[in-house]
């Protein structure tokens, strides 16, 4: 077996809240191989985001270990974690988190700024990524001039620009309408087909069905890990649009 892109060993995260001790993650063991598309499911408060933040090196575990491409990243300093995120991780957030009053291109270039990529190289790569997400025509638009779906595409381009080993998305369709959500899922499936490793948090089973593997959390524990034949997002999108047309004409 090849080394996993990311693996966790007895992963625990504890929070101290007003004297109360909360075990947000209770010993999670997981292996995610290169090229996998994994959906993380579970009710609200079950620890999905906590788990994602640990995978993404945004936070350090209380107990247990995280191996990123075989290297232990569980006990790194804030500066070391920043470098790891910059090099190996791409994030997509529910709220897009784009810099306002900054063009799409500059937003996408942001990670490259922190890796000291030469400017012309950064522009070339950012332009490529924006083309990949279908926004070649919108490069000099500010977030306020873009729709929610377009903003999320910019965010996805930003997550891809440093060619990360792992693409993490926390409820990326949560702030979008169903149709736009399906469009975004279609984009993720397309990226997956190009060989990207993707971990995506959602509490909607419909969305999770587009991934090839579903992890289910409850109360900080991993209670299910199953592989399925993924639904095709392009087909789902087409069906959705036909249904809507039928409703309008009816």
């Amino acid at each position: 077996m090849t080394t996993a892109v990311i693996a966790t060993l007895a992963l625990e995260k504890h929070y101290q809240m007003g004297g109360q001790h909360l075990r947000a993650l209770k010993g999670v063991d997981i292996n995610i191989a290169g090229g996998e598309f994994v959906a993380v499911m579970g009710p609200s408060g079950s620890g999905k985001s906590t788990f994602m933040n640990l995978l993404g090196c945004l936070d350090s575990p209380s107990l247990g270990r995280i191996l990123l491409q075989g290297d232990d990243v569980s006990r790194l300093s804030a500066a070391q974690l920043a470098r790891v995120r910059n090099k190996y991780i791409g994030f997509v957030f529910q709220q897009f988190n784009l810099l306002p009053r900054t063009t799409a291109l500059d937003n996408v270039m942001l990670p490259l700024l922190y890796s000291n990529t030469p400017k012309h190289e950064a522009i070339r790569r950012a332009t490529e990524c924006l083309q990949l997400v279908g926004l070649a025509q919108r490069m000099d638009h500010h977030p306020a001039q873009l729709s929610g779906g377009q903003q999320q595409r910019v965010a996805i381009a930003r997550a891809l620009v440093n060619q990360p080993a792992l693409l993490l998305a926390d409820e990326p369709t949560g702030a979008l309408d169903s149709e736009t959500g399906l469009e975004i899922m279609q984009l993720f499936q397309q990226l997956h087909q190009q060989g990207k490793t993707i971990v995506l948090v959602t509490h909607e089973p419909d969305i999770a069905a587009f991934a090839g593997r579903q992890l289910t959390f409850r109360d900080g524990e991993l209670i299910a890990d199953k592989k399925t034949q993924p639904q095709n997002a392009a087909v789902a999108l087409q069906q959705f649009r036909q249904q809507r047309l039928a409703q309008v004409s009816a």
Binding site: L58, D59, A82, R85, L99, P111, Y114, S115
Partner: protein, 409 residues
């Protein structure tokens, strides 16, 4: 991320909140401008004093008759002896290093010409005054010996008096009334302009000593040849101390004074000017110190706005960290923002100071000199203020946890 890029990022951040950036800078702008203007005026005053001392040659003494000398009458108790014209002559003749010793006498009075009147300084002099105070008669002539001996009703006037009474017209040969007495103008002095204290040096009129003594002051004097002061010009500046001693013993002997406090006082003009300017320097320094307090207040304003900015941009900071900004890079970004605010404020303050100094020079006739080291120091200092007051907000930004920052509402 290299420093140049960080500067660009900071510049963009400041431009986004342009009005706020300008208002924040205002404190620094005003502070820096005030400090530079104060220092420029101080330097200007110093320059003026140097010039004045230079123009006096640093080789001039003034000997004053001590005691109240009202209207030319000496009213001191004790010695009945006052300074006289003969003392001036003795100084000039018996002390070889002395070029010239000019006796003078002041009086006050009104000049009337037609329906105009004017009140310049009235000096009773003889022809030594021109050499002693570096005056030149540019129109007409000086007093003749007969005029001097006969208390003639003639006068040589300064440029200001000429301008005020005659405008562009001819002054020579005109008759003016000095305290009702008709006086003929026989000469006009060259113009000297203002002195360091802003006093007009050309607002004066010379008349023969006897004329002033007998016809204007009109008081009984201790001696018919009494004078109020003697202006002494020494050949070589290096002999000043020696000459002062010689004059002191000569005058004590002549005035038969054995007191520890003789009835005269010898003042070195350049020393007098230097003393006066010292007071002004202290005052200027005080103002500069007050101005630097406003710099401090400006710095606190910077800190306040930077703290607000860090709070407002918590999510942005979280995002930057998430995509790979190390804490020290975030720190640097905010420090550079603060330094840019202050440095820019300093530069604008400098420009303002230059503008104000130039207009003070142009409209108020003050000398203002902005020295290079003051420019470098004030802009450098305002950058330091940026680092000092930006440090805490920057540390706060760098210390944020990425997940908390990203989740911040």
């Amino acid at each position: 991320m290299n420093t140049l890029t960080l500067f660009k990022v900071a510049a963009v951040a400041l431009r986004v909140n342009l009005l706020r950036s300008i208002l924040t800078m205002l404190g620094i702008i005003i502070g820096v401008a005030a400090v530079i203007i104060m220092l420029a005026l101080g330097a200007g005053a110093r320059y003026d004093v140097d010039q004045q001392i230079k123009s006096l040659g640093g080789n001039v003494f003034v000997i004053f008759a001590r005691g109240r000398f009202s209207g030319g009458a000496r009213e001191a108790s004790g010695s009945s002896q006052g300074l006289t014209e003969m003392d001036a002559l003795a100084i000039e003749q018996q002390i070889p290093q002395v070029n010239v010793a000019a006796p003078t006498m002041r009086a006050s009075g009104q000049l009337i010409y037609g329906n105009m009147n004017w009140a310049p300084e009235i000096h009773g002099v003889d022809n030594r005054i021109y050499a002693a105070q570096s005056w030149q008669v540019v129109e007409g002539r000086t007093f003749s010996d007969t005029e001097l001996a006969s208390a003639a009703r003639v006068a040589v006037i300064g440029q200001t008096v000429k301008r005020e009474l005659f405008g562009a017209g001819d002054a020579l040969g005109q008759t003016v009334r000095v305290n009702k007495m008709p006086v003929t103008i026989i000469g006009v002095l060259n113009g000297k302009g203002q002195n360091t204290q802003g006093n007009d040096q050309d607002d004066l009129i010379f008349m023969p000593l006897d004329t002033v003594r007998k016809r204007i002051a009109g008081l009984t004097l201790s001696s018919p040849k009494a004078v109020r002061s003697i202006i002494v010009q020494v050949e070589d500046e290096r002999d000043m101390a020696d000459v002062e001693q010689q004059m002191d013993s000569l005058l004590r002997q002549r005035l038969r004074s054995t007191d520890s406090e003789p009835p005269f006082r010898i003042r070195n003009l350049s020393e007098m000017i230097a003393t006066r300017s010292e007071t002004m320097q202290i005052f200027n320094g005080l103002l500069a110190a007050v101005a630097s307090v406003s710099l401090l207040v400006g710095g606190i304003g910077i800190m306040n706005i930077m703290l607000v900015s860090v709070t407002e941009r918590t999510r942005e900071i979280g995002l930057r960290m998430a995509v790979g900004a190390e804490p020290k890079v975030i720190m640097k970004q905010f420090l550079i923002e603060a330094v840019l605010l202050c440095g820019l404020g300093g530069a604008i303050g400098l420009a303002l100071a230059v503008a104000v100094s130039l207009s003070l020079q142009h409209f108020a006739g003050l000398t203002a000199i902005i020295e290079l080291h003051v420019v470098l120091m004030s802009v450098g200092f305002s950058c330091l203020i940026g680092i000092f007051f930006g440090y805490y907000p920057a540390t706060k930004a760098a210390g944020l946890q990425p997940i908390d920052a990203l989740r911040y509402e």
